[in-house]
């Protein structure tokens, strides 16, 4: 048994880890594993979607081979444990990149599909699953299901965003996107109010592929922030060498607390504000600013932390965002990471995909027991009232009825579950 914890480090639980490292033997290993089992990638999910306490975890990181790349069409076939980092590094200088990437490259293709992840360019490129053109899914009864938007389309839309519950994704084919190279023409703009954020978003979406905002949640009830936008650009600068720091230890208490947070936020704001300008930036620091600090999640101390990520339909988004900020401010619970971003209209293919047209807001909170739970309950009521929902990839605590109401295709999804697979999240939110 191995102790495993997900990114939020809320709890560590024993798992029997079964490595998958070879696609020839994978189906055999999968069908003979002790149940219930669950596939796992890099454990970059924050809560319990990727854990299965007491059960089996199929560690897919060893399925790390590229299979083929078509230089004409840009379709990449690879095994599901390949890291997005390796895809970007291999192809960016050759003029291709992933069309959609989350805020860390340290995730697997399988994890990116199972949570149908989104990036800074949702308004133009939707989610990761929108660019997956084929999947091979292995079920615990030994069946192998080939699926795509055309072939077995129901299996495809159950598996994209399917939280790992429909089977193990063995291989995937991804339609890559043409880029001029590894560079982004990026710009940071300071905003001083939430309405400015909405105006900047509206004004930028047509002309900028990437937009995202960081919000200083601790100052003046959370109004000011940095709006970042960018477009791919050609440049002939040499690529930077990889630099990496690692957060060396878990401090005995969270370094993120009431005393340090305003200071963190203020200095970050000042740093960004004084450097706010247009620049040509490498995709690595533009897309993945936190990847240069290994294990930064340890900074929240031994109890771990939550991320609360909601999406609110556009109509009520501004009001709901203000209301959530007011709750945080009243609770005195600031967050270092407050990220605000608009989602576009393109429908996700997955039955349980999180993104929908509107505004998504993500906040990190150190675990403080009942106090944190009470704040979440108040945030929940704002999200419910405006018809929004929470992101399973980040969740460790949403009430079951909130999940049921937030995901109207849930009933349809259940028919595609693999009875040999279960996660802590599925036991909590689906009852098995």
């Amino acid at each position: 048994m191995t102790s495993i914890t997900s990114w939020g480090r809320l709890r560590a639980a024993e798992h029997s880890v079964v490595p998958l490292s070879d696609r020839e033997s994978a189906a055999q290993v999968i069908s003979s594993a002790r149940r219930p089992a669950l596939a796992s990638g890099m454990q970059r999910s924050y809560g319990d979607v990727s854990t299965n306490a007491g059960g089996t975890l199929w560690d897919c990181r060893g399925l790390d081979k590229f299979i083929a790349f078509d230089e004409q069409s840009g379709v990449l076939r690879c095994e599901s444990g390949v890291l997005l980092r390796d895809i970007q590094a291999t192809f960016s200088a050759r003029g291709w990149m992933l069309p959609v990437t989350p805020g860390t490259a340290m995730v697997t293709v399988g994890g990116a599909i199972a949570n149908d992840v989104h990036g800074k360019n949702h308004q133009s490129y939707a989610t990761f699953g929108n660019h997956v053109v084929h999947l091979t899914l292995v079920r615990t009864d030994g069946d192998v299901i080939e699926c795509s938007p055309q072939e077995n389309p129901d299996w495809f839309s159950a598996t994209v965003g399917g939280l790992g519950l429909t089977g193990v994704i063995l291989t995937a084919a991804i339609q890559m996107k043409r880029v001029p190279g590894p560079w982004i023409d990026a710009e940071d703009i300071v905003f001083e109010s939430i309405s400015d954020f909405f105006e900047l978003s509206d004004a930028s979406e047509a002309e900028y592929e990437h937009t995202v905002s960081w919000l200083d949640v601790t100052t003046d009830g959370g109004r000011r922030g940095i709006f970042t936008r960018g477009n791919p650009v050609a440049a002939s600068t040499p690529e930077p060498r990889e630099t990496r720091l690692t957060f060396p230890i878990t401090p005995p208490a969270s370094l993120v607390n009431r005393l340090t947070l305003p200071a963190f936020n203020r200095s970050y704001f000042r740093l960004k504000a004084t450097r706010a300008r247009r620049r040509v930036e490498h995709y690595g620091s533009f897309f993945y600013p936190l990847d240069s600090i290994g294990d930064w999640n340890r900074m929240y101390g031994p109890k771990g932390f939550y991320q609360y990520q909601s999406v609110i339909p556009r109509r009520d988004a501004e009001e709901a965002t203000r209301a959530m900020l007011a709750e945080c401010s009243q609770a005195g619970a600031g967050s270092f990471l407050g990220v605000l971003k608009t989602f576009g209209d393109v429908q996700s293919l997955g039955m349980l995909s999180f993104p929908e047209a509107g505004v998504t807001f993500a906040l990190d909170f150190p675990e403080h027991g009942e106090q944190t739970e009470a704040l979440f309950a108040r945030l929940d009521s704002i999200v419910r009232a405006s018809g929004g929902r929470l992101y399973a990839a980040k969740d460790a605590r949403m009430p079951r009825d909130m999940f049921e109401r937030g995901y109207p295709q849930l009933e349809r999804f259940l028919a595609f579950r693999d009875p040999g697979i279960s996660s802590e999240l599925s036991r909590r939110l689906l009852g098995s």
Binding site: T2, V17, P19, S21, D22, R23, E24, G62, K65, F66, I67, A68, F69, E71, L76, C78, T90, R94
Partner: protein, 248 residues
């Protein structure tokens, strides 16, 4: 140079360390690589992966029984028929459970052959046919001193060390270089069980960069990561009465 494209032959090419070493070499320059191993399907998927990563290089593969003497001779003949490869890397080895091997002589024999005898024969076969280039083999820190937890594996690695010493002596002053690599514990499928037990393992990517560098420089013996050179000097110097009481 008439042929600027380097030719690399890798035996045990499905090993994680070998794959990452190839990646480190090919990131710097195009080459042609011939991949040898025991499993056709695994070799094919390694080759496909390398083709995607390095479209400027060329690849081929060949599955053979790595412990069959005739097969070793045939492959070595073929790979040296039209000139010497620039680099031959011999990377296979088998780390099975020491306690299983103690209880079962057949398992002990397989372990010694796969880790020691077979790589030694591959070394010998290429050494007899090459006059230029670099012949590199992956030993291990485990070959430096026998200890209860893995001495049969260590004995295989120690055997390789004696062979490379002999070859280095035999080819001193010629254009054929023999390199012995001794990795410390590294995170690969071979050490999955150690990782599960919480051992501190080096990143295979960094180890591979160290190997690529040492082989390119024709080092005689290279510990990777380098600190293992110091650690093993200490381990070798502990007097037996003390050493044997340690649980290593």
């Amino acid at each position: 140079m008439t042929n600027p494209i380097a030719r690399i032959v890798v035996v045990g090419a499905t090993s994680a360390i070998a794959q990452h070493t190839l990646r480190a070499w090919l990131a710097g320059r195009d080459a042609s690589a011939h991949l040898i191993g025991r499993s056709e399907s695994r070799l094919a998927s390694v080759e496909a992966d390398l083709r995607v990563r390095f479209p400027g290089s060329t690849f081929s593969h060949e599955a053979v029984d790595l412990i069959d003497v005739e097969a070793i001779e045939r492959v070595a003949d073929h790979e040296t028929a039209n000139g010497d490869p620039d680099i031959v890397l011999i990377a296979h080895g088998s780390l099975t459970s020491q306690t299983d091997s103690q209880k079962n002589l057949r398992a002990a024999s397989e372990q010694l052959i796969a880790t020691g005898v077979s790589p030694a024969l591959w070394l010998e076969a290429f050494a007899d046919r090459m006059t230029t280039g670099t012949l590199a083999v992956i030993g291990s820190v485990a070959g430096d001193r026998g200890r209860r937890s893995n001495y049969l594996y260590g004995a295989g690695k120690g055997l390789i060390e004696r062979v490379t010493q002999g070859l280095q002596n035999r080819f001193e002053g010629t254009d054929l270089h023999v390199v012995l690599i001794k990795p410390g514990p590294t995170r690969t499928p071979m050490t999955e069980h150690l990782a599960v037990a919480g051992a501190r393992l080096a990143d295979v990517h960094l180890v591979a960069e160290g190997i690529a560098h040492a082989v390119t420089r024709n080092k005689r013996v290279a510990y990777v990561p380098r600190r293992w050179g110091v650690i093993m000097a200490v381990v070798r110097s502990i007097p037996a009465p003390v050493f044997n009481r340690l649980d290593l």
